[in-house]
């Protein structure tokens, strides 16, 4: 029974942290968007607007709940539940640190792929039940897009699974290391291809720009959630921004070494009726840092790229990403067979790919600063303006 109580407490902590993280990210995204468009963004509620999301939630709580006439109210009501559940359940097997993990599921990444189906069904039901043409179009397109991009995502996961020899997240993290040389992205070219495919497919599964056709504001009003108002609408939002964290966590776990850090510093809390709760601080912070980098990249992409058209979207999936994914999975099988781990060729490839990746990032910053010098633009490095 004590075991169950602790499990319940942990689950509540997970729920609160994902809600807070999603809320906080909405503010962060709006601030970043403001900066990218030369405006300020929300900065009134709390210091620099960081509690804007609480104000938004309180506002949504008081909003009237409108269910359109002739809508199928039961399906209309359960859709937010399904969508939120689909995102929240994916958190179960993801390790946020050496001990910060809900349950170590053996089916790991497979389970996460399966949980995506909750979101698909929820979005489809919400779109269908609204009795609104925009919603219906948005919901159907969304379902088509999500199921299509599940194929390349799974092919990219296949590459990682072949390298790690397991589906268990914690074992995948253990088989990588702290330094970039040991990360799966820089192990071999096929893994690098797989990373790119997975990242793009994850963007599409999360309905993020440039794949935000389901809720394209300028053509479908708001897509599948057009008719939702107040709290129900907020739960779709919560799921979408919670999904950002999940995408970041998945990418950094599968390809960027997860919580592996060079040093460790473990806190121990002794609690009654259970072995002590351990919390590894440095690895957890390192993991959060990686996740926030990916979240920032996703937000950056959103405010940079235009939206794709639906036929372009489907073409990219079935004619580019699926064949490239199949190529990468054949390649990784051959690579694993012909280049055994820790052989000379493997080591050379690792180090050269890592240095190539590092140089690319350095070159990017060099170009940025050079452009700034040429255009003589002022940099506002201080985010708290």
């Amino acid at each position: 029974m004590t075991q169950f109580i602790y499990m319940f407490i942990f689950a509540v902590i997970y729920l609160l942290s994902i809600a807070v993280a999603a809320g906080f990210l909405t503010v962060v995204e709006r601030r970043i968007a403001g900066r990218m468009q030369s405006r300020i963004g929300p900065n009134r509620v709390g210091p620099q607007g960081i509690v804007q999301w609480i104000a938004d939630a309180v506002k949504a709580l008081q909003k009237e709940d409108i269910i359109p006439t002739d809508a199928h109210s039961f399906l209309f009501k359960i859709a937010p539940y399904l969508v939120f559940m689909g995102v929240f359940l994916t958190l179960v097997p993801i390790p946020f640190g050496a001990y910060t993990l809900m349950e170590n599921l053996d089916t790991g990444i497979f389970y996460v792929l399966a949980m995506a189906s909750f979101v698909v069904i929820g979005v489809m039901m919400g779109g269908w039940a609204s009795n609104n043409k925009w919603s219906l179009l948005g919901g159907m397109r969304s379902a088509a897009q999500m199921i299509s991009y599940e194929v390349p995502a799974a092919l990219a996961v296949f590459v990682v699974v072949v390298m790690a020899g397991t589906l268990n997240f914690q074992k995948i993290v253990f088989s990588q290391g702290a330094s970039p040389v040991d990360w799966y992205v820089f192990r071999n070219p096929f893994a690098f291809i797989a990373f790119n495919i997975f990242f793009i497919a994850a963007l599409a599964e999360g309905n993020r720009v440039p794949f935000d056709i389901p809720e394209a504001e300028s053509e479908l009003v708001s897509g599948y959630n057009t008719e939702y108002s107040g709290m129900r609408f907020l739960f779709f939002f919560l799921a979408e921004w919670g999904n950002l964290v999940v995408i970041g966590a998945l990418v950094s776990t599968l390809f960027f070494g997860g919580w592996n850090f060079w040093f460790e510093y473990t806190l121990e809390f002794s609690v009654p009726g259970r072995y002590p709760i351990r919390f590894e601080v440095l690895g957890f912070l390192w993991f959060l840092f990686k996740v926030s980098i990916f979240v920032f990249i996703i937000i950056w992409i959103r405010w940079t790229l235009p939206r794709l058209r639906i036929d372009q979207l489907m073409d990219i999936c079935w004619k580019y990403m699926v064949p490239i994914g199949l190529f990468a999975s054949i390649g990784i099988l051959l690579w694993m067979y012909f280049v055994p781990e820790k052989s000379l060729a493997d080591t050379i490839m690792r180090y050269s790919m890592t240095s190539f990746g590092g140089l690319t990032i350095l070159y990017f910053f060099y170009r940025v600063f050079q452009n700034l010098r040429v255009t003589k633009a002022k940099i506002y490095a201080n985010p708290f303006v």
């Binding site: 359960i78 089916t107 399966a114 599940e150």
Partner: protein, 191 residues
Amino acid sequence: MELTFIKPFMFYFFASLTTGSALMVVIIRNPLYSAAMLVLTFFSLAGIYVLLNSEIIAVLQVFVYAGAIMVLVTFVIMLLNLRSGALINKPTHIIRSVVAVIFSFLLFICLISIFVSGNQVENAPKGVITAAAIESEGSFQLFSRALFSEYLLPFELVSLLLTVAVIGVVVLIRGISGAEENKQAKKGQGR
């Protein structure tokens, strides 16, 4: 294990949920509501699989049925534009109902006979995958190993089967799709 005593309760919970939602699938007149109930059936079945110590089958159940089959079913409902009661208003042919009754009766007899001869399961030959093996190695590793060694030929044949299915889809679609899309294009409802 502290939680084992819950197992029977969980089983009855999931079993009643499965049967109840499966019944609702048949009873409810609105096809989309039936589809929603079908999802519930799939999830509670997955729960039963977990109780049977086979997590992989549970995840497969959710992945394939809830992820792919459900989307397919919903698209078909959209495609045919089945309204609430659209199927009910059609008069059912008498022969059809007679055949349905006979077949469901046969199915019922099959089920009953399995229950009656249930104690034979005890004497059936046991494979490598026992409860102890699952406990020590995890059902997932055992499943994958079995798939790659004992069931290698079926595994390869499945890929052939899938290819045949793709060809079937392509050929089938070619037949309907041309007529359907032209009709829709003429009506101006193509979406």
